[in-house]
């Protein structure tokens, strides 16, 4: 069975989704939905292990050899991403029943799980596939599922948020598809390995196809930038994350932008190659300033938010800036920094959103002002939030430090002093917005008239602390993340040629 692991990774959640529709029974569905991410995690772990030992694995669907057939190609980079995605899904799962607030939603609980598993299948599919069009299909599956998940938020405004997410997401998907179409026109292939082989010919300047390839790349890059919420295309993100159910925000924040980032990196480095993208297209000239603006604008916006989830969402915009900064530094070290941050940010933002979900459950609000007194009444949740916040700032001993270290190092390697200083300086903004929450939670007293609150049950604390604990663990045991990320960056850099 082990040779089927690449396809099982995607088929298991893809099958489990519709199965939820058939089962309908609440306990059965919940059991299934809890088991599937765990199974996915196991598969992803096995894949990562195998890839580390034998190198890239190729799986031919239907037995058709690429470039004719669809190929699933697992190497270090996407195995790493799949581990993250399925781990986050597994951890978020216990939070989902908490969102079955209204009776209407509760009656349709099985639909909720079906959509969730479908989103998981989509995200894993994007990562696993070695075929551009297949990637697009899964991108749409994941996106459509995400729109519906966002729409399930507590307030009616969630519908508006989901709608604008849908419109913008569709624009992004369309751009991506246009890019694929143009590439197909020039090369006649959709397979990533094949594309990497065939693109250089039309790419070379002077040939008639060079402009088409250029336009194809621009479409792909902008399309993925939208999905990734690169500043200034980030506007869907705060709205969607703020209004989605907290557990969904945790899941999406930790996985969906990460997978888009992976796809962008795959396109930039594996398909087109760093030389072309940075020398001929000068991607860094645009992406580098945008990343830095994102770091500052996102963090500054976070400082002024009054809503906890929106604060975290804007912080995500800034953190995505760090990740794209890693790409735009155009070096293996920079890419390593970006990939490490992909992993670390998934952990910390996932953990923080879960903490926000814990607060939401007890406080029935996500306003920061309502957190008053939570430090004493919900000590574990608040401690988790603070630890996650420290990681966000990049305090040493937490995972956030490791990624910033690599980014600073990559900037210094190229003598870009200003960039290094800006990375450090932007961390100070993170101090400011984390401190705002800490101050209210620990130093403000809860209104006498407010309804009593107590700590959330261990069922929710444990997953939150798994993520938060992981940020600390991976802050100390850096060889696990940084080592794999460095190898993955190497694989991507070498490209598929």
């Amino acid at each position: 069975m082990s040779e089927h692991l690449p396809i099982l990774q995607v088929v298991v959640p893809l099958l489990a989704g519709p199965l939820c529709l058939l089962l309908r029974h609440r306990l059965l569905v919940r059991g299934l939905a809890t088991a599937v991410p765990l199974a996915c995690l196991t598969i992803a772990g096995l894949l990562l292990h195998r890839v580390q030992q034998v190198g890239a694995i190729s799986y031919h669907i239907g037995g058709w050899a690429p470039p004719l057939g669809i190929e699933y190609r697992i190497d270090l980079a996407n195995a790493y991403v799949m581990v993250i995605v399925s781990a986050i899904a597994a951890v978020v799962m216990p939070f989902l029943p908490g969102h079955m607030g209204s009776a209407m939603v509760r009656r349709r609980e099985h639909l909720f799980y079906a959509i969730f598993l479908l989103a998981l299948a989509g995200l894993l599919g994007i990562s696993a596939t070695g075929d551009m069009f297949n990637a697009f299909v899964f991108l749409e599956i994941a996106s459509l599922a995400s729109y519906s998940l966002v729409a399930l938020g507590r307030h009616r405004r969630a519908l508006v948020a989901a709608y604008s997410y849908l419109i913008i997401g569709t624009i992004g998907g369309t751009f991506f598809l246009l890019g694929i179409g143009l590439m197909y026109q020039m090369t006649g292939t959709l397979n990533m390995v094949d594309l990497a082989h065939r693109l250089p010919e039309p790419m070379s300047p002077g040939t008639p196809g060079s402009r088409t390839v250029l336009v194809a790349f621009a479409f792909l890059a902008v399309g993925l930038s939208i999905k990734l919420a690169v500043f200034p295309l980030h506007q869907w993100l705060p709205r969607a994350y703020a209004h989605a159910p907290s557990a969904v925000s945790a899941f999406l924040a930790a996985t969906s932008t990460k997978v888009s980032y992976y796809l962008l990196v795959r396109v930039v480095f594996s398909l087109f190659g760093a030389a072309y993208v940075f020398d001929a297209l000068k991607l860094d000239r645009l992406l580098l300033p945008l990343s830095i603006v994102a770091m500052f604008a996102g963090s500054t916006a976070a400082i002024f938010q009054t809503d906890l989830k929106r604060l975290l969402a804007y912080s995500s915009v800034a953190q995505i800036g760090y990740m794209t900064l890693g790409v735009s530094l155009a070096s293996v070290t920079g890419l390593t920094g970006g990939l490490v941050h992909l992993f670390n940010h998934a952990l910390m933002k996932g953990g923080l959103f879960l903490a926000a979900a814990c607060y939401g459950m007890r406080l029935r609000s996500s306003r920061i002002a309502d957190l008053a007194g939570a430090g004493r009444l919900m000590p574990w949740t608040t401690a988790a939030f603070v630890t996650g916040g420290l990681a966000l700032i990049g305090v040493p001993g937490t995972a956030g430090f490791v990624s910033k270290w690599y980014l600073v190092l990559a900037a210094l390697e190229q003598g870009r002093w200003l960039v290094a200083v800006l990375v450090v300086a932007s961390s100070l903004l993170a101090v400011a917005y984390v401190w705002r929450v800490v101050e209210v939670a620990y130093f403000a007293d809860r209104d006498a008239g407010a309804h009593p609150i107590k700590e959330v049950p261990p069922l929710l604390l444990v997953p939150t602390w798994i993520l938060i604990g992981a940020t600390v663990y991976f802050g100390l045991r850096t060889e696990l993340t940084a080592g794999v990320a460095e190898a993955a960056a190497g694989v991507l850099w070498e490209s598929l040629r």
Partner: protein, 562 residues
Amino acid sequence: MSGLPPGMILVLGALALPLVRGRLRQLLVVALPVASYAHMLALPADLSVGAELFGYALEPVRVDRLSLVWGHVFHIVAILTAIYALRVKGATEHVAGLTYAGSAIAAAFAGDLITLFVFWELTAVTSVFLIWARPGARSRRAGLRYLVIQVASGVLLLAGSVLTYLERGSLAFDHLGLSGPGSVLIFLAFGIKAAFPLLHNWLQDAYPEATVAGTVFLSAFTTKLAIYALARAFPGTAILIPIGALMTLFPIVYAVIENDLRRVLAYSLNNQLGFMVVGIGIGTELSLNGTAAHAFAHIIYKALLFMAMGAVLHRTGTIKASALGGLYKSMPLTAACCIVGSLSISGFPLFSGFVSKSMILSAGAEAHMLVLSLALLVASAGVVDHSGIKIPFFAFFAHDSGRRVEEAPWNMLLAMGAAAAICIGLGVYPQPLYDLLPYPVSYVPYTTAHVVTSLELLLFAALAFAFLYRSGRYPAEIESVNLDFDWTYRRLAPRAVAAARRRLAALHAAAARRLDAARRRLLRSLERTYGPSGLLGEPWPTGTTALWAAVLLAAYLILSYL
């Protein structure tokens, strides 16, 4: 086990404290530092544990003679303070104190700059809770100021480490010297924690605001860790001599007029650090030995003095000289311990300060540094005043405040008694301390000339005090705030407005309004842009994003044609 940095037992073990209660917690509080000490003693004498982080060779544990001096004394004082704090309710102080002690110990055994940095920051983050554990807005603000400055020190250290790595290709924490921008930043980072002049004020600002036991913890670790770091990386750096001399001098003036006795001790702490900094600056074997010995002796007697003042605060609820006095009647044992500490810090023969401080003084004399030696002489007379006389005199004697309180609790007395015993023991028989020092010691403290000159200095200074006090010329204890360098960051802007008020009374109101309005305008414009309803804070309409997508697309294409 030997791969575990010394002190980590404390850091990790302390995290378990909130899980247990009552007697078990008390037992654990004392057992943890003892276990950690045992772990350190069991380590091989020149152990080095290598590790790799992002491909850099690190050395999380490096045991040598210099680090062992600090390892010993940090552990001893951790045990003493744990006993002193035994009956504190609530886990916060225990956890903060023990993790703080543990991270300081681990930092002293760091063999590379990154490990040092990690524990350096950890001491800052853990120790601030010792300040915050005291209720009230005042300690909250003081703690925040303290934290900001400490973290800034860490940031400087990190920046300096990165630069140093780029300069030399090594992260080893060894002799650096002032040899480039990296090492200058590291020097500044150490200087903040060592409370160099103008960088010193966090110490006097924060320490007196901590809890009773918290101040004892604080007094022992942060600054002495910085002394260790300076001794490791910058021995013989000439600039340290004037810096240290200045440090010994200016705090004594403040100590004379300060009313908060714990703040007096904080100034005296600063002055003592000056002696150690001078010792590092001289850089001879004798002076470095002297610095190590003085750090050792100093940690114990300074902890003893803070414990005594803490006991007074614990029993009377105040530590203002103006509100105390005559306590020797109700707290005789505390008073006796406090006097032992005072004699030690003054450098009275047969007490620990004598055998350590005289090494530094002798090193200065042997190097024929005339000005320095005279400065240290004056500083020594100053120590007699603020710690030798002022502390015990105003707390326990002077005019009777009429307060009748209980003697300190048994655990505090036990800790103070043990510390006092160490002070006397080292003073009478210094050989065990000398055996610990990094370089071989041939120094003999008890020569006739030494003893006589020291006694002369001390007793005549005391005579001068008696003369001044009895003639009513000694500055009275007045409850007040004395401006220090922290004024620049606590008062500079408001003060500017105040000056304007005095001179340009008419313009003042307008100026203040304008200043305030400008500040508010800035905040408002920031919030207008970034706030929940601002341009960058509120999601734009979908169409705007689409427009931006088109703009970006065009930008990519145009860029590639450039």
